[in-house]
């Protein structure tokens, strides 16, 4: 049996390996983004910037539509998150509490939607949005975004509400609350962590989504950040824009991620997985 020191060493190396593997590309992009323009395209390349500079970031905002992309992304993401949170909180609660016919069907159906892969759905979706005249608009983005986010979030909220003990609501209703009042006063406050985690999940999804905006937006003033980044990567790639934009998008995602990571592991362990 390996003794304690060998074990610790193996553990240390393993953890180090994974941490390095996961973080290396991220660190590399950050490093690259603060190199002056000439150094980005220097050959042979340098690892550390000789003169770290924020000029790429400045150029990003002054020379491109990035600020517009950022605004679009934030608006759409925020609205998506809001709408998804509302729909899935109520929907998840009702799925968790009530028995009605077709409940299983809804769950299975929502999983099937994911099975089907966004690409398969994108063609009909494009036609719907186009026929509704909503191409290249905020609502045109919002609708599909929410439609895609709801299934998973609904599932998450349902599982979450199943872990909230029903006795509290029953007690409240015995005291004379209507169902809705019980929901509002007793369940909601308890559900706040779950709602927040769920919302952050939807937010990350909306921030990072690429295929949907690719199809729906047509003019570059409506691009979201992911599409904007892709637009600089044609036959010629504008690394001096791509790199800082990537860092910014990652930073936003990181902020959101740090916020919810506490709940992720705990929440998944609690109710989501049978066994």
């Amino acid at each position: 049996m390996p003794d304690l020191n060998t074990r610790s060493l193996v553990l240390f190396v393993t953890v180090l390996f994974f941490a390095a593997f996961s973080s290396f590309p991220v660190i590399w992009v950050i490093l690259s983004s603060i190199k002056p323009y000439t150094e980005i395209y220097a050959y042979p390349i340098t690892v550390f910037p000789s003169m770290p500079t924020l000029e790429n970031y400045v150029k990003l905002f002054t020379e491109t539509y990035f600020s517009r992309f950022l605004m679009n992304t934030l608006i759409v993401s925020f609205l998506t998150t809001l709408a998804t949170a509302v729909v899935t909180t109520m929907g998840g609660y009702s799925l968790a509490r009530f028995r009605y016919g077709g409940q299983k069907a809804i769950i299975v159906f929502s999983l099937v939607i994911y099975m089907v892969s966004p690409v398969a759905l994108i063609v009909p979706m494009y036609w719907v949005i186009r026929n509704l005249g909503m191409l290249n608009t905020y609502h045109g983005l919002l609708l599909p975004f929410v439609a895609f986010a709801v299934p998973i979030c609904l599932w998450l909220m349902k599982v979450f509400f199943e872990t909230v003990p029903i006795e509290l609501e029953e007690a409240a209703m015995v005291d004379g609350c209507t169902r809705f009042e019980a929901f509002r006063k007793v369940v909601l406050p308890q559900a706040v962590p779950g709602i927040i985690a769920n919302s952050m999940f939807a937010l990350i999804f909306a921030l990072n989504e690429f295929l949907l905006p690719l199809i729906i937006t047509e003019t570059d003033t409506m691009f979201t950040v992911p599409i904007g980044i892709a637009s600089w990567m044609g036959t010629y790639i504008y690394w001096e824009y791509v790199l800082p934009a990537s860092v910014i998008l990652m930073a936003v995602a990181l902020a959101v991620f740090l916020f919810i990571q506490k709940w992720l592991i705990r929440g998944l362990g609690a109710g989501a997985i049978k066994g």
Partner: protein, 266 residues
């Protein structure tokens, strides 16, 4: 009332997903589209590539995911930080992931070639994104981006395994490997099967990373099924054909997935 609104709204959203391509084409051509799709030179190869992509990424995602979960399950100082670092790739936007790896894979400016050449492992720059390497390079990206998903689920499950199970077996003198096989593996089996199912589904239909790193190329070397559908639908504007192919693949996936799910006895 509020409780009934939510599912109804949800159904309305869902109904947007139910349009089938051939309801939109003006002429009714019956099965002609289907025949054309199957006979087209690119459809079957693209499915084949999708299988390779899915299989390749899945294998390593699960391997890395399980190993990292095991490691992160142990208590050590800085564990929470390590967890955040390891899990981070999953929340990075696909575009950014793709751009980053594209940047690293570059022949001239890529850091991977730089390291290899500096340490004299190779003499000339390796063309990571050419026909012979592209798929492998892509698989690495897919693994990097998604292995934390496996890590997360497996880790969550590991955390809830009762300590006394291990204690009991340790008393009997089991070593590390035996403990893993007799306790850990059965406990995480369910999670693994679900994770494998989910990852297969998600990887099979992955579009954005492949599109940005290689665009399906060079040529059609990495043209998996989603890429093909996109090209058919949005660049050749052959929506009907694109939809047809989608339907075919959905049926294929369902045919594969349903027996698998049934066998899980959930």
């Amino acid at each position: 009332m509020a409780f009934f609104i939510a599912p109804v709204v949800y159904s309305v959203w869902l109904s947007f997903h139910e349009l089938r391509g051939f309801q939109i084409t003006p002429q009714f051509v019956g099965f002609a589209n289907y025949i054309e799709a199957v006979q087209s030179a690119e459809f079957i190869p693209s499915l084949y590539r999708s299988f390779i992509w899915t299989g390749g990424t899945l294998l390593f995602q699960v391997l890395l995911g399980v190993v990292s979960a095991l490691a992160l399950n142990e208590s050590f100082k800085g564990r929470s930080v390590a967890r955040v670092i390891v899990l981070f790739p999953y929340v990075v936007a696909s575009v950014v992931t793709a751009a980053t790896w594209r940047w690293m894979y570059d022949d001239l400016f890529g850091v991977i070639n730089y390291v290899l050449q500096t340490f004299r492992i190779t003499e000339t720059p390796v063309r990571w994104l050419d026909s012979s390497h592209a798929m492998l390079s892509l698989i690495l990206v897919g693994v990097w981006q998604h292995y934390p998903f496996v890590t997360l689920y497996v880790l969550a499950r590991l955390q809830s395994i009762r300590e006394d199970l291990y204690e009991a077996v340790k008393v009997d003198g089991a070593n590390v490997f035996q403990r893993f096989r007799s306790i850990t593996l059965p406990e995480i089996r369910e999670v693994l099967l679900i994770v494998i199912l989910l990852r297969t589904i998600f990887m099979f239909g992955k579009f954005d990373v492949i599109w940005i790193v290689t665009g399906g190329g060079p040529g059609t070397v990495t043209q998996t099924w989603p890429i093909l559908i996109y090209l058919e639908g949005f660049e050749k504007l052959n929506f009907a054909l694109g939809s047809t192919m989608s339907v075919l693949v959905v049926l294929l996936l369902l045919a594969l997935a349903i027996p698998y799910i049934r066998s899980l006895k959930l």
